[in-house]
Symmetry: C2
Subunit: 115 residues, 2 copies
Amino acid sequence: MKTKAKTLPAKPVPVPARYRARAEIVKALGHPTRLMMVDRLAAGECCVCELQKLAGADMSTVSKHLAVLKRAGILENEKRGLKVFYRLSCPCLTDFFGCIEGVLRKRAGRLAAEL
Amino acid sequence: MKTKAKTLPAKPVPVPARYRARAEIVKALGHPTRLMMVDRLAAGECCVCELQKLAGADMSTVSKHLAVLKRAGILENEKRGLKVFYRLSCPCLTDFFGCIEGVLRKRAGRLAAEL
DNA sequence: TTCATATTTGGCAATTTAGCCAAGCAGATG
DNA sequence: CATCTGCTTGGCTAAATTGCCAAATATGAA
């Protein structure tokens, strides 16, 4: 006989690796400071100290954010003299923001409509 | 006189609202299960129970993931009879993945080159 | 009304993440 | 060599996130 479950008891199917890999990248981008740095880097490589000024945060904090983005494969870096320069590993990230802005506009429209 | 700081003492400039708003959306997308559900919804609306089967997770977990996506403005929902149907609020999310895949390919290439 | 189905919500423990300070390290410069 | 600059790392605490269970809610059917 078959026992009738109240609610499907959550058979734990692992999420496909494809989505786990994508999520790693998206997650790395999901922070205001990191997003701002990526936006700056879309205009060309720059050193950590410049990014620090831009972010207005502690140098160690900036460095850790950069490490997150690098680990995700979003940035590459290179040391020249005393400075370390970071750049986008993939130029497509430039238009990545277009879609995000689309969601924002849509959301703004909805909020406006609710007034 | 001006005291010389060892390292710039992290003058705490707030990150512009633009990036905070964007990060909210990106963060909402930064989870394997949520990414999978968004991918499914890019093919057309569907009900929570179908997404649950797809995700293979607890119903309450799926529901909370959907709430995160809705709060971010990524999804809309509508109740019809017993079921609740979710859909993308912005079709652009469909090509959003193109860029992410670009980063993945680039990363795969780099890893392969390191062997 | 009573029951079943579909979904949301509250609560909670385990894990992860963020940001600060202090310390470390490598390259340049005196 | 000693010292400065630019950056990274370790350690720590506070806060956020995840996922499960149990309970609540809403709609439809008997």
